[in-house]
Assembly symmetry: C2
Homo-oligomer: 211 residues x 2
DNA sequence: AATTATATGTTGCAATTGCAACTTTTTTGC
DNA sequence: GCAAAAAAGTTGCAATTGCAACATATAATT
């Protein structure tokens, strides 16, 4: 998840110049405050300089879906994340956000911003990475049972850890909203997975058991 | 869905030059043949020059998921579509596919391919568009009932049509695999939607009823 | 430290879904 | 135009899920 900044490979000095040219604006948000709503047609993108946030949607039944966890250097906005009129980004800790117009990022400007090529390459990589993440998410949501959703998400988290253990990046309540399932049904299924010997848990530390 | 070619804005002559430089390869596939399997770590991308294909996955239960419908000018490959070891692209009609190494698309080459900037912009747009599509898909799959999945997919298809009518781009069998639900349960729910006055159908032509 | 709020854990029950096993209709290939 | 294959349409039934309504544990706030 170590998202690199879109300014990777550009000196601080040059970044500062570009930001000025881009008319970038920095804003601060307290925990639990709404950073943006109704992302549709907003041509701004936001970069999280510090803090964390969730991108969420509430449907007409009042069900919350956590669309995406955003961390430092994460980027959000219409192009990067979502079209739709019911999406919000909510700070889950105190945040500093940098807003830039998307067009600036990809269009070469007339002024002296010579690093647009580097920037474009970085944006390309970021978009590719986003696509990979979205596909991972899709693979999980396309599973037909809560059990399979949990197992494929856990599998993803355990990847690259030989001990097949990991710490949930969510509360269990949030996990249910991330997997789009009922919380109590999910808890029941986690209990079943433990009883059936698929996992062991210790709070948010979960270990996948292999035979 | 009108996907523009990644070579949009470049003359045929120059495209031909670039393809040579890229060592692009054109291949033909008959209907129902497998175009690629196990996309993981394949740094090639494929462009559909003619015909249609589905990107599919079979899970260990034998359930098929249609990840994506691919049409003329659609692009697929690890960066554009999916990491994973169980994905295939299957021709749904006779197809011509152009294979190019991804690196060529985004790296400026030493030879005389002067249109890399245009190409990069096109790839950027394509990736953005893909992200939008993936998010639409995610919104559908995150719905908790078959009814809501159907309704939000239908809503998407009816968008921009004042008559709120559209033709399913799928067979009903495929639609079930696209929504990741059981086919017979889906058919039952479609019947319920008709009885409850949400939709009318005539074969694959469906009309959403508004009050 | 006490109070409040939030998260975790449980369970009965009703509704929804998936599965299996069919029939009927439509499409495809010869 | 006929036979075979695929798709569409149905239904009973068992399994899974969501909902509601709790109890308990943990974290946050004053």
């Amino acid at each position: 998840m170590e998202v690199k900044s879109i300014f990777e490979g550009i000196t601080d000095e040059d970044v500062a110049k570009m930001l000025k040219c881009f008319e970038a604006r920095k804003m601060s948000f307290k925990k639990d405050r709404t950073i943006v709503t109704n992302i549709i047609n907003v041509k701004l993108i936001g970069i999280i300089l510090s803090g964390t946030a969730n991108m969420v949607r509430y449907d007409y039944n009042g069900n919350r879906t956590i669309i995406e966890k955003l961390e430092t250097n994460s980027v959000f906005g219409e192009v990067f994340s979502r079209v739709g009129n019911d999406i919000s980004v909510i700070a889950t800790s105190d945040c500093e956000i940098l807003f830039i117009e998307y067009e600036h990022l990809i269009k070469r400007c007339k002024k002296g911003c010579i690093y647009h090529t580097v920037l474009t390459d970085n944006v390309l990589k970021l978009l590719s990475r986003k696509i990979v993440e979205l596909n991972e998410r899709l693979e999980i949501l396309s599973k037909r049972s809560i059990r399979d959703k949990l197992l494929s998400y856990f599998e993803l988290l355990a990847t690259d850890n030989p001990r097949r253990t990991f710490v949930l990046p969510f509360t269990y309540t949030d996990l249910a909203d991330y997997l789009s399932v009922d919380r109590s049904a999910m808890m029941r299924e986690i209990k079943n997975l433990k009883e059936d010997g698929f996992i062991t848990t210790n709070g948010k530390r979960i270990t996948l058991i292999s035979y």
